[in-house]
Symmetry: C2
Subunit: 141 residues, 2 copies
DNA sequence: TCAGATAGGGATAAGTTTTTCCCCTATTGC
DNA sequence: GCAATAGGGGAAAAACTTATCCCTATCTGA
């Protein structure tokens, strides 16, 4: 397994929530589990762009962070169900709010994101580098 | 500059907000800019763990995503000020809510995160792998 | 007998982000 | 002439995340 070489800061609330939500698919996992899609195979069908492997890894992390629990049924073929913990449930309204903000501004966001992806430094028409071109008032340091 | 090889999904609001907030320091940048720390050097002092380079890169992205604007004063030494756009301001309440959630649960979160970092598979006392050990009831597929 | 469903992990490769180091601008002060 | 200041970017390395491939195991159904 990969071992971190840089220990994260855990000073403020933003650091902390950043740690537990960081990961390409975690928010979606929480969301779908909350919607009642509990079994790993269901989640994998819901999030087909993610590899099976990574979903497992991120589910493990969510479990270690106590946002979800994993229940193993001793049957065969195996059956496993994830559920949100009470703690995990408290984060759902935040995710909902994020999703809603994104939905409300989706046209604008999509535009800006696509524009940014495409024009990764193709254009030269802006003269950012005219710092010293005009005046010479002292900076208000 | 690095060029993406995998184009991101932009289907739902969560995808979109994920794109614009993804980046180790972006949320903090937005937060501090909102608090009135506008100049790059101020921001760098506020976020000493980030390299200067990365803050610039992420500020650029925030600008391209229209969450902040950059005002250049043609003086010397250079003076630059970032401000939130009206659009950028609408995301602040969300960030505040995230930070608050993190603060409210900080002890629990810190515990869980540190535990997870330290016990990256050191312990062998759990028997996860007893899938087929017990019964044989059919799975409720 | 062999594919498929179910759940998961190890090893390695590929992709992406962040850090580090060094360079540039132009002026002021020593 | 040299350092400090303020803002910024290129190149390469390091750190980190995600994808790919292949393996475990048992039972069902074709």
């Amino acid at each position: 397994m990969y071992e971190r070489k840089v220990i994260p800061n855990l000073n403020c609330g933003l650091d902390l929530i950043g740690e537990v939500l960081y990961g390409k698919w975690k928010i979606r996992l929480l969301w779908f589990i909350d919607q009642g899609h509990k079994r790993p195979s269901e989640l994998q069908r819901k999030i087909p762009d993610a590899s099976r492997r990574v979903l497992n890894m991120q589910l493990n992390e969510l479990e270690r962070h106590e946002l979800v629990t994993r229940k193993i049924y001793p049957v065969v073929p195996p059956k496993v169900e994830y559920s949100l913990t009470e703690f995990g449930k408290t984060i759902i309204p935040l995710i909902a709010a994020l999703g809603q903000w994104g939905d409300e501004h989706q046209d604008r966001l999509r535009d800006a994101i696509l524009k940014q992806i495409k024009t990764s430094e193709l254009d030269d028409t802006n003269q950012d580098s005219a710092f010293y071109a005009v005046g010479n008032a002292p900076p208000s340091t």
